[in-house]
Point group: C2
Chain length 332, copies 2
Amino acid sequence: MEQPAREPSPTIGELGETATLSRILPRLEPGDAALLGAGDDAAVVAARDGRFVVTTDLMVHGPDFRLAWSRPHDLGWKAAATNLTDVAAMGARPTALVVSIAAPPTTPVSLLEGIADGLRDALAALAPGAGVVGGDLSASSVLTIAVTAFGDLEGRAPVLRSGARPGDVLAHAGARGDAARGLRLLFAEARDAEGEPDAALADAVRARHPHLVGAQLAPSPPVGAGVVAARAGASAMLDVSDGLARDARRLAEASGVGLDFHRTVLGEDPMTALAGAEDHGLLATFPAGVVPPEPFDVIGAVTGDAGRLTLDGAPVDTSGWDPYSGWDGGAG
Amino acid sequence: MEQPAREPSPTIGELGETATLSRILPRLEPGDAALLGAGDDAAVVAARDGRFVVTTDLMVHGPDFRLAWSRPHDLGWKAAATNLTDVAAMGARPTALVVSIAAPPTTPVSLLEGIADGLRDALAALAPGAGVVGGDLSASSVLTIAVTAFGDLEGRAPVLRSGARPGDVLAHAGARGDAARGLRLLFAEARDAEGEPDAALADAVRARHPHLVGAQLAPSPPVGAGVVAARAGASAMLDVSDGLARDARRLAEASGVGLDFHRTVLGEDPMTALAGAEDHGLLATFPAGVVPPEPFDVIGAVTGDAGRLTLDGAPVDTSGWDPYSGWDGGAG
């Protein structure tokens, strides 16, 4: 007996805004903090201690992802994960997201459904209880995902970048270089003869290296470690999105301190650990005498040499990644 | 004596992210509710009654604006104004925005400076005390502005779409059809021989019709009227972004009521008043016996005829605007 042909997904343009939203919204949970979810002019979210933490980030097809490499579920997952980590880096518990998507009218609705599923699954895995309270759907020739994330400081002071003091312990939670290693694998092994991103080759390299390629396409940052660090008395903290060395320099400059990394804890490839972007780990400092709690590793020490970054005492180069200098205009 | 040549603006790609942000952020105020503004992983905003209102919206070059018609200042102004109105439509006082911009590397930094100035000036004019607490700058081939806006309910219940009851008074604050009239003028008189948007022609038609073209390009919705309506006991309220009739139908359906418009208050062109989009006025209902406060006009009555929209008793067509069916793919 023949299998019935699988119905192809209609496009957003065919379905229209209202019908498209009716297929996306049921896939999302509003979460514990939602006092009023999507459907009115605005949502209402609980802010139990009279404040809320807020961060926002855009993911753009081309500079930020390739549709041949990232599955729709990956896009939603990564958009949630990266914003949740910024909330965590303040020492806050993530409570809610709003998500806007701009997409070409020719986009299959199934792609948006996959993004929604990725958002939901990342929230459930990384920030249980947090949900999506609202959003917007717009037309654009470039697929663009805008996430704004909220968090609850639970009465604590936010953990800033500026609080590190000489003598503090330098600690890190999360991957160190894996996202960059995954991207390197994709560039090396998931492009066709013309150098264009290729979906079948990406599936193959992901099957061979699920951990590293997954770290790039759908990272699992240590979101819960943000609250753990704050409770343990972290003196400073930030999200490592542009590479450990480059973000460490931001912390050093904001705090007016120097940072010395211990080479032995950076693994067999310390340069990738220091320079690789997009790991979304948490870099934190703790006062002398405080043992950094799990899952933090001690990776160095805070020095009095303001603005100076060193690796076992030797200077570290922090030339980093700029979203405008790094994009060649390609998409795929 | 010759005038020194005016230095052309560098592009974002030439300046890079950090230097570009250093030219934008000083143009913005964090506002009264900012406990911690831009510069760390996330901002911290006051939510005095333990809740916050949140809404988000994307503006995309092509479907949502033409760069030949909208000045950079207009783009920032309109992005702020439209989101502030959604906050106001809940009966909340706007407190803060976060703003993400994705732009081509070839974008002059002066364009982003103009957007920032427009955001600041709209906040000062429409929601004094509210500010910009954070944002993101990304690369994209399409200029995209994502705004998320926050508001304070000041202890009141949010005014939903669903609270209208038969016998209530139907009232409206703001323009009725002016934004559509302005857009019609631009399409008729600000396109070149090939039908493409033209900047010089737009300046000329704006000089002849500053009120109507301004209503389209840089609207001044009655943001403060949201709190006024809530305090006066409004039973339902929403932002009129897709046209009075279409948004009235949303209110009618959410409330399970009918709405009858009074033709005499809709002016000489009641069809444009009912169908014209992008005015961003506030449509509200008030219990019988409550006189709608300034600046609301009584424009009709709430009936028991669930879901039925009428004009002096005759049915009204609410076929409206869909962001995917309405865009021809053009930009300009």
